[in-house]
Amino acid sequence: MSIHTHHEGEHESAYDVGLLGNDAHWAFGTSFEDPLAGVDTTVPDGVDPGTLAAYSLMLGDDALVLSHRLSEWCSRAPDLEEDIALANIALDLLGQARLLLARAAAADPTLVPALPTGSPVPAEDALAFFRGDRELRNVRMAELPNGDFAETVTRVLLLSVQRLAVLQRLSRSRDAVLAAVAAKGVKEVTYHRDFAGRWFLTLAQGTEESHRRLVAALAGLMPWWDELFTTHPVEAEAAAAGVGVDPATVRAEADLVLDHLLATSGVERPQVRPRAGVRVDGQPRTGRDGVHTEALSRMLAEMQSVARAHPLGRW
Protein backbone atom coordinates (compact mmCIF):
# COMPACT_ATOMS: atom_id res chain seq x y z
CA MET A 1 0.00 0.00 0.00
CA SER A 2 1.15 3.51 -0.55
CA ILE A 3 2.81 4.93 2.46
CA HIS A 4 4.23 8.03 0.88
CA THR A 5 2.93 11.36 2.06
CA HIS A 6 0.41 13.39 0.15
CA HIS A 7 1.59 15.41 -2.83
CA GLU A 8 -0.48 17.78 -4.84
CA GLY A 9 -2.04 16.17 -7.85
CA GLU A 10 -1.87 12.63 -6.49
CA HIS A 11 -4.87 10.52 -5.65
CA GLU A 12 -5.90 10.49 -2.05
CA SER A 13 -4.39 7.59 -0.13
CA ALA A 14 -6.00 5.37 2.50
CA TYR A 15 -4.36 7.64 5.02
CA ASP A 16 -5.63 10.87 3.50
CA VAL A 17 -9.20 9.62 3.40
CA GLY A 18 -8.93 8.84 7.08
CA LEU A 19 -9.35 5.06 6.99
CA LEU A 20 -5.87 4.37 8.35
CA GLY A 21 -3.65 6.41 10.65
CA ASN A 22 -0.57 7.84 8.99
CA ASP A 23 2.42 5.55 9.37
CA ALA A 24 4.69 7.06 6.76
CA HIS A 25 7.67 6.11 8.90
CA TRP A 26 7.40 2.51 7.65
CA ALA A 27 8.13 3.50 4.07
CA PHE A 28 11.63 2.98 2.79
CA GLY A 29 11.00 2.31 -0.87
CA THR A 30 9.27 4.10 -3.67
CA SER A 31 6.45 3.47 -6.12
CA PHE A 32 4.22 1.61 -3.69
CA GLU A 33 0.65 1.27 -4.82
CA ASP A 34 -2.22 2.34 -2.64
CA PRO A 35 -5.19 -0.02 -2.96
CA LEU A 36 -7.56 2.65 -1.66
CA ALA A 37 -6.34 5.62 -3.68
CA GLY A 38 -9.31 7.82 -4.50
CA VAL A 39 -11.82 5.36 -3.04
CA ASP A 40 -15.05 6.70 -1.58
CA THR A 41 -15.36 5.48 2.03
CA THR A 42 -18.96 6.50 2.63
CA VAL A 43 -21.38 3.64 3.25
CA PRO A 44 -23.49 3.11 0.08
CA ASP A 45 -27.15 4.14 0.13
CA GLY A 46 -29.53 1.61 1.59
CA VAL A 47 -26.80 -0.46 3.28
CA ASP A 48 -26.98 -1.03 7.01
CA PRO A 49 -23.61 0.12 8.43
CA GLY A 50 -23.77 -2.60 11.08
CA THR A 51 -24.16 -5.31 8.45
CA LEU A 52 -21.33 -3.90 6.36
CA ALA A 53 -19.09 -3.75 9.43
CA ALA A 54 -19.95 -7.27 10.62
CA TYR A 55 -19.35 -8.64 7.12
CA SER A 56 -15.99 -6.83 6.85
CA LEU A 57 -14.99 -8.34 10.20
CA MET A 58 -15.68 -11.86 8.94
CA LEU A 59 -13.43 -11.50 5.91
CA GLY A 60 -10.87 -9.60 7.96
CA ASP A 61 -10.78 -12.16 10.75
CA ASP A 62 -10.27 -15.05 8.30
CA ALA A 63 -7.18 -13.22 7.02
CA LEU A 64 -5.98 -12.13 10.46
CA VAL A 65 -6.14 -15.58 12.03
CA LEU A 66 -4.62 -17.48 9.10
CA SER A 67 -1.93 -14.81 8.88
CA HIS A 68 -1.00 -15.42 12.50
CA ARG A 69 -0.89 -19.19 12.06
CA LEU A 70 1.41 -18.76 9.06
CA SER A 71 3.62 -16.32 10.93
CA GLU A 72 4.18 -19.05 13.53
CA TRP A 73 6.25 -20.83 10.87
CA CYS A 74 8.74 -17.97 10.87
CA SER A 75 12.24 -19.47 11.38
CA ARG A 76 10.76 -23.01 11.51
CA ALA A 77 9.95 -23.81 7.88
CA PRO A 78 11.74 -26.71 6.15
CA ASP A 79 13.92 -24.35 4.11
CA LEU A 80 14.81 -20.69 3.98
CA GLU A 81 12.89 -20.35 0.71
CA GLU A 82 9.71 -21.80 2.27
CA ASP A 83 10.17 -19.70 5.39
CA ILE A 84 10.12 -16.51 3.36
CA ALA A 85 7.29 -17.71 1.12
CA LEU A 86 5.03 -18.42 4.11
CA ALA A 87 5.97 -15.10 5.72
CA ASN A 88 5.08 -13.30 2.48
CA ILE A 89 1.66 -14.96 2.41
CA ALA A 90 1.15 -14.07 6.08
CA LEU A 91 2.00 -10.44 5.33
CA ASP A 92 -0.37 -10.30 2.36
CA LEU A 93 -3.17 -11.57 4.59
CA LEU A 94 -2.26 -9.20 7.41
CA GLY A 95 -2.52 -6.33 4.93
CA GLN A 96 -5.97 -7.51 3.87
CA ALA A 97 -6.99 -7.89 7.51
CA ARG A 98 -5.83 -4.38 8.33
CA LEU A 99 -7.89 -2.79 5.58
CA LEU A 100 -10.96 -4.92 6.32
CA LEU A 101 -10.86 -4.27 10.07
CA ALA A 102 -10.36 -0.56 9.38
CA ARG A 103 -13.38 -0.74 7.07
CA ALA A 104 -15.43 -2.39 9.82
CA ALA A 105 -14.40 0.26 12.34
CA ALA A 106 -15.21 3.12 9.97
CA ALA A 107 -18.63 1.72 9.12
CA ASP A 108 -19.60 0.97 12.73
CA PRO A 109 -17.36 2.61 15.36
CA THR A 110 -19.37 0.99 18.17
CA LEU A 111 -17.67 -2.32 17.30
CA VAL A 112 -14.26 -1.05 18.37
CA PRO A 113 -13.29 -2.08 21.92
CA ALA A 114 -12.91 0.84 24.31
CA LEU A 115 -9.34 1.61 25.35
CA PRO A 116 -7.96 3.85 28.11
CA THR A 117 -8.03 7.59 27.40
CA GLY A 118 -4.93 8.65 25.53
CA SER A 119 -4.33 5.26 23.92
CA PRO A 120 -2.70 5.70 20.49
CA VAL A 121 -3.97 2.29 19.30
CA PRO A 122 -5.73 2.70 15.93
CA ALA A 123 -9.19 1.23 15.48
CA GLU A 124 -8.05 -1.74 13.38
CA ASP A 125 -5.44 -2.66 15.98
CA ALA A 126 -8.02 -2.37 18.77
CA LEU A 127 -10.19 -4.85 16.84
CA ALA A 128 -7.27 -7.22 16.29
CA PHE A 129 -5.77 -7.14 19.77
CA PHE A 130 -8.58 -6.28 22.17
CA ARG A 131 -11.39 -8.62 21.15
CA GLY A 132 -11.87 -11.99 22.82
CA ASP A 133 -12.35 -15.22 20.88
CA ARG A 134 -16.16 -15.00 21.11
CA GLU A 135 -15.99 -11.73 19.18
CA LEU A 136 -13.86 -13.05 16.33
CA ARG A 137 -15.81 -14.12 13.25
CA ASN A 138 -13.31 -16.25 11.32
CA VAL A 139 -14.08 -19.73 10.03
CA ARG A 140 -12.65 -22.39 12.32
CA MET A 141 -10.34 -23.92 9.71
CA ALA A 142 -8.16 -20.81 9.92
CA GLU A 143 -7.57 -21.12 13.66
CA LEU A 144 -6.62 -24.83 13.96
CA PRO A 145 -3.17 -25.35 15.48
CA ASN A 146 -0.38 -25.81 12.97
CA GLY A 147 0.53 -29.35 12.02
CA ASP A 148 3.34 -30.30 9.66
CA PHE A 149 4.26 -28.57 6.41
CA ALA A 150 1.78 -30.70 4.43
CA GLU A 151 -0.98 -29.57 6.77
CA THR A 152 -0.13 -25.89 6.25
CA VAL A 153 0.09 -26.33 2.47
CA THR A 154 -3.30 -28.03 2.45
CA ARG A 155 -4.88 -25.43 4.72
CA VAL A 156 -3.58 -22.51 2.64
CA LEU A 157 -4.86 -24.30 -0.45
CA LEU A 158 -8.38 -24.89 0.89
CA LEU A 159 -8.79 -21.42 2.36
CA SER A 160 -7.31 -19.76 -0.75
CA VAL A 161 -9.62 -21.66 -3.09
CA GLN A 162 -12.61 -20.33 -1.14
CA ARG A 163 -11.22 -16.84 -0.56
CA LEU A 164 -10.21 -16.27 -4.16
CA ALA A 165 -13.68 -17.22 -5.38
CA VAL A 166 -15.23 -14.83 -2.84
CA LEU A 167 -12.85 -11.95 -3.55
CA GLN A 168 -13.36 -12.23 -7.31
CA ARG A 169 -17.06 -11.58 -6.80
CA LEU A 170 -16.49 -9.04 -4.03
CA SER A 171 -14.46 -6.87 -6.41
CA ARG A 172 -17.87 -5.87 -7.83
CA SER A 173 -19.21 -4.89 -4.40
CA ARG A 174 -21.36 -1.77 -4.17
CA ASP A 175 -19.09 -0.73 -1.31
CA ALA A 176 -16.14 0.95 -3.01
CA VAL A 177 -13.78 0.08 -0.17
CA LEU A 178 -14.60 -3.64 -0.17
CA ALA A 179 -14.37 -3.65 -3.96
CA ALA A 180 -10.91 -2.09 -3.85
CA VAL A 181 -9.66 -4.37 -1.07
CA ALA A 182 -10.98 -7.38 -2.99
CA ALA A 183 -9.35 -6.29 -6.25
CA LYS A 184 -6.02 -6.03 -4.47
CA GLY A 185 -6.59 -9.30 -2.65
CA VAL A 186 -7.41 -11.24 -5.82
CA LYS A 187 -3.84 -10.82 -7.06
CA GLU A 188 -2.40 -11.89 -3.74
CA VAL A 189 -4.64 -14.87 -3.13
CA THR A 190 -4.18 -16.05 -6.72
CA TYR A 191 -0.51 -16.45 -5.84
CA HIS A 192 -1.29 -18.12 -2.51
CA ARG A 193 -3.50 -20.66 -4.24
CA ASP A 194 -0.92 -21.28 -6.92
CA PHE A 195 1.88 -21.67 -4.36
CA ALA A 196 -0.12 -24.08 -2.19
CA GLY A 197 -1.44 -25.96 -5.22
CA ARG A 198 2.06 -26.57 -6.56
CA TRP A 199 3.25 -27.80 -3.20
CA PHE A 200 0.16 -29.99 -2.88
CA LEU A 201 1.01 -31.63 -6.21
CA THR A 202 4.70 -31.91 -5.33
CA LEU A 203 4.03 -33.58 -1.98
CA ALA A 204 1.34 -35.84 -3.45
CA GLN A 205 3.69 -37.14 -6.12
CA GLY A 206 6.89 -36.95 -4.07
CA THR A 207 7.94 -39.71 -1.72
CA GLU A 208 5.78 -42.30 0.00
CA GLU A 209 6.23 -40.28 3.20
CA SER A 210 5.23 -36.93 1.68
CA HIS A 211 2.18 -38.56 0.07
CA ARG A 212 1.17 -40.14 3.39
CA ARG A 213 1.48 -36.84 5.22
CA LEU A 214 -0.49 -34.96 2.57
CA VAL A 215 -3.36 -37.46 2.61
CA ALA A 216 -3.45 -37.29 6.41
CA ALA A 217 -3.52 -33.48 6.30
CA LEU A 218 -6.39 -33.46 3.82
CA ALA A 219 -8.38 -35.95 5.88
CA GLY A 220 -7.90 -33.77 8.96
CA LEU A 221 -8.95 -30.53 7.25
CA MET A 222 -11.83 -31.59 5.01
CA PRO A 223 -14.34 -31.82 7.90
CA TRP A 224 -13.93 -28.02 8.19
CA TRP A 225 -14.55 -27.41 4.45
CA ASP A 226 -18.35 -27.19 4.70
CA GLU A 227 -18.20 -24.30 7.13
CA LEU A 228 -16.45 -22.16 4.50
CA PHE A 229 -19.60 -22.26 2.39
CA THR A 230 -22.29 -22.09 5.07
CA THR A 231 -24.18 -18.81 4.81
CA HIS A 232 -24.34 -16.74 7.99
CA PRO A 233 -27.28 -14.30 8.25
CA VAL A 234 -24.83 -11.38 8.05
CA GLU A 235 -23.40 -12.75 4.81
CA ALA A 236 -26.90 -13.21 3.42
CA GLU A 237 -27.81 -9.61 4.32
CA ALA A 238 -24.58 -8.24 2.91
CA ALA A 239 -25.10 -10.19 -0.32
CA ALA A 240 -28.72 -9.00 -0.58
CA ALA A 241 -27.54 -5.40 -0.15
CA GLY A 242 -25.01 -5.86 -2.95
CA VAL A 243 -21.96 -5.28 -0.76
CA GLY A 244 -21.05 -8.86 0.17
CA VAL A 245 -20.82 -12.37 -1.27
CA ASP A 246 -22.91 -15.32 -0.09
CA PRO A 247 -20.24 -18.04 0.30
CA ALA A 248 -22.75 -20.74 -0.68
CA THR A 249 -22.71 -19.32 -4.20
CA VAL A 250 -19.01 -20.12 -4.66
CA ARG A 251 -19.26 -23.72 -3.42
CA ALA A 252 -19.62 -25.35 -6.84
CA GLU A 253 -16.70 -23.42 -8.28
CA ALA A 254 -14.50 -24.16 -5.26
CA ASP A 255 -15.33 -27.89 -5.39
CA LEU A 256 -14.50 -27.92 -9.09
CA VAL A 257 -11.10 -26.30 -8.51
CA LEU A 258 -10.32 -28.64 -5.64
CA ASP A 259 -11.42 -31.78 -7.48
CA HIS A 260 -9.32 -30.80 -10.47
CA LEU A 261 -6.22 -30.48 -8.29
CA LEU A 262 -6.99 -33.73 -6.48
CA ALA A 263 -7.33 -35.56 -9.79
CA THR A 264 -4.06 -34.08 -11.09
CA SER A 265 -2.33 -35.03 -7.85
CA GLY A 266 -3.75 -38.56 -7.74
CA VAL A 267 -5.32 -37.98 -4.33
CA GLU A 268 -8.87 -39.07 -3.53
CA ARG A 269 -11.24 -36.72 -1.79
CA PRO A 270 -11.66 -38.15 1.70
CA GLN A 271 -15.16 -39.18 2.69
CA VAL A 272 -15.54 -37.31 5.95
CA ARG A 273 -18.48 -35.95 7.88
CA PRO A 274 -18.54 -32.15 8.07
CA ARG A 275 -17.65 -30.85 11.52
CA ALA A 276 -20.89 -29.66 13.10
CA GLY A 277 -21.31 -26.41 14.94
CA VAL A 278 -21.62 -26.21 18.70
CA ARG A 279 -25.23 -26.07 19.86
CA VAL A 280 -25.99 -22.83 21.65
CA ASP A 281 -29.64 -22.29 22.59
CA GLY A 282 -30.56 -25.17 20.32
CA GLN A 283 -28.85 -23.67 17.26
CA PRO A 284 -25.59 -24.95 15.74
CA ARG A 285 -23.02 -22.16 16.03
CA THR A 286 -19.68 -21.95 14.23
CA GLY A 287 -16.79 -19.56 13.79
CA ARG A 288 -18.91 -16.92 12.04
CA ASP A 289 -21.05 -16.79 15.23
CA GLY A 290 -17.99 -16.39 17.44
CA VAL A 291 -18.09 -20.01 18.61
CA HIS A 292 -14.60 -21.38 18.08
CA THR A 293 -12.34 -24.26 18.98
CA GLU A 294 -10.23 -23.85 22.09
CA ALA A 295 -7.20 -23.37 19.85
CA LEU A 296 -8.27 -19.82 19.05
CA SER A 297 -8.24 -18.55 22.63
CA ARG A 298 -4.75 -20.00 23.11
CA MET A 299 -3.59 -18.37 19.91
CA LEU A 300 -5.06 -15.01 20.91
CA ALA A 301 -3.48 -15.21 24.36
CA GLU A 302 -0.09 -15.21 22.68
CA MET A 303 -0.96 -12.85 19.84
CA GLN A 304 -2.57 -10.20 22.05
CA SER A 305 -0.55 -10.35 25.26
CA VAL A 306 1.88 -7.53 24.48
CA ALA A 307 -0.76 -5.17 23.11
CA ARG A 308 -3.04 -5.81 26.08
CA ALA A 309 -0.24 -5.30 28.60
CA HIS A 310 0.59 -1.90 27.05
CA PRO A 311 -2.63 -0.30 25.81
CA LEU A 312 -0.91 3.10 25.93
CA GLY A 313 2.21 1.88 24.14
CA ARG A 314 3.56 3.45 20.98
CA TRP A 315 5.27 1.15 18.47
Partner: protein, 96 residues
Protein backbone atom coordinates in the same frame (compact mmCIF):
# COMPACT_ATOMS: atom_id res chain seq x y z
CA UNK B 1 11.93 -38.67 6.25
CA UNK B 2 14.86 -41.00 5.78
CA UNK B 3 17.31 -39.53 3.32
CA UNK B 4 17.36 -35.76 3.12
CA UNK B 5 18.35 -35.12 -0.46
CA UNK B 6 19.52 -31.61 -1.20
CA UNK B 7 17.43 -29.67 -3.69
CA UNK B 8 19.35 -28.51 -6.76
CA UNK B 9 20.83 -25.03 -6.77
CA UNK B 10 19.43 -22.36 -9.09
CA UNK B 11 20.82 -19.00 -10.17
CA UNK B 12 18.35 -16.11 -10.22
CA UNK B 13 18.27 -13.17 -12.64
CA UNK B 14 15.86 -10.27 -12.15
CA UNK B 15 14.96 -7.46 -14.51
CA UNK B 16 14.10 -4.36 -12.54
CA UNK B 17 11.71 -1.67 -13.67
CA UNK B 18 14.57 0.71 -14.24
CA UNK B 19 17.04 -1.58 -15.94
CA UNK B 20 17.04 -3.11 -19.36
CA UNK B 21 18.84 -6.36 -18.57
CA UNK B 22 18.21 -9.28 -16.32
CA UNK B 23 20.85 -9.04 -13.61
CA UNK B 24 22.14 -11.90 -11.49
CA UNK B 25 20.86 -11.34 -7.95
CA UNK B 26 21.74 -14.57 -6.17
CA UNK B 27 20.93 -18.23 -5.90
CA UNK B 28 18.50 -20.52 -4.12
CA UNK B 29 17.46 -24.14 -3.77
CA UNK B 30 14.25 -25.54 -5.21
CA UNK B 31 12.80 -28.96 -6.02
CA UNK B 32 12.09 -28.10 -9.67
CA UNK B 33 12.08 -25.28 -12.22
CA UNK B 34 8.54 -24.09 -11.49
CA UNK B 35 9.12 -23.90 -7.76
CA UNK B 36 12.45 -22.18 -8.34
CA UNK B 37 10.61 -19.37 -10.11
CA UNK B 38 8.21 -19.02 -7.19
CA UNK B 39 10.99 -19.13 -4.65
CA UNK B 40 12.81 -16.45 -6.61
CA UNK B 41 9.69 -14.30 -6.57
CA UNK B 42 9.37 -14.73 -2.81
CA UNK B 43 13.03 -14.30 -1.91
CA UNK B 44 14.27 -11.71 -4.39
CA UNK B 45 11.32 -9.52 -5.46
CA UNK B 46 9.45 -8.93 -2.20
CA UNK B 47 10.49 -5.28 -2.08
CA UNK B 48 9.19 -4.41 -5.51
CA UNK B 49 12.51 -5.11 -7.24
CA UNK B 50 11.44 -6.78 -10.41
CA UNK B 51 9.14 -7.16 -13.37
CA UNK B 52 10.67 -10.34 -14.80
CA UNK B 53 12.62 -13.30 -13.43
CA UNK B 54 14.85 -15.92 -15.02
CA UNK B 55 16.01 -18.99 -13.13
CA UNK B 56 18.47 -21.55 -14.38
CA UNK B 57 19.99 -24.57 -12.71
CA UNK B 58 23.50 -23.72 -11.61
CA UNK B 59 24.86 -26.92 -13.12
CA UNK B 60 23.58 -25.78 -16.53
CA UNK B 61 25.92 -22.81 -16.50
CA UNK B 62 29.32 -23.14 -18.10
CA UNK B 63 31.66 -20.78 -16.31
CA UNK B 64 35.17 -19.60 -16.96
CA UNK B 65 37.80 -20.79 -14.51
CA UNK B 66 39.94 -18.45 -12.41
CA UNK B 67 42.93 -20.35 -13.83
CA UNK B 68 42.06 -19.01 -17.28
CA UNK B 69 41.96 -15.42 -16.11
CA UNK B 70 45.20 -14.34 -17.78
CA UNK B 71 44.71 -15.90 -21.20
CA UNK B 72 41.07 -14.83 -21.31
CA UNK B 73 41.16 -11.30 -19.97
CA UNK B 74 44.70 -9.94 -19.75
CA UNK B 75 45.10 -9.48 -23.54
CA UNK B 76 42.37 -6.82 -23.61
CA UNK B 77 44.02 -4.86 -20.81
CA UNK B 78 46.30 -2.81 -23.08
CA UNK B 79 44.01 -2.37 -26.10
CA UNK B 80 43.18 1.17 -25.17
CA UNK B 81 42.08 1.90 -28.75
CA UNK B 82 39.07 -0.37 -28.25
CA UNK B 83 37.55 2.21 -25.93
CA UNK B 84 35.81 5.17 -27.53
CA UNK B 85 37.71 7.58 -25.32
CA UNK B 86 39.20 9.59 -28.17
CA UNK B 87 35.89 11.08 -29.21
CA UNK B 88 34.23 14.19 -27.87
CA UNK B 89 30.78 13.19 -26.63
CA UNK B 90 28.12 15.82 -27.32
CA UNK B 91 26.27 16.90 -24.17
CA UNK B 92 22.91 15.77 -25.53
CA UNK B 93 23.99 12.13 -25.90
CA UNK B 94 23.59 10.91 -22.33
CA UNK B 95 23.80 7.12 -22.50
CA UNK B 96 26.88 6.39 -24.58
Amino acid sequence: MGVKAEWPLYEVFVRSKRGLNHVHVGSLHAPDDAMALRHARDVYTRRNEGVSIWVVRSDAITASSPDEKDPLFAPSGDKVYRHPTFYDIPDDVPHL
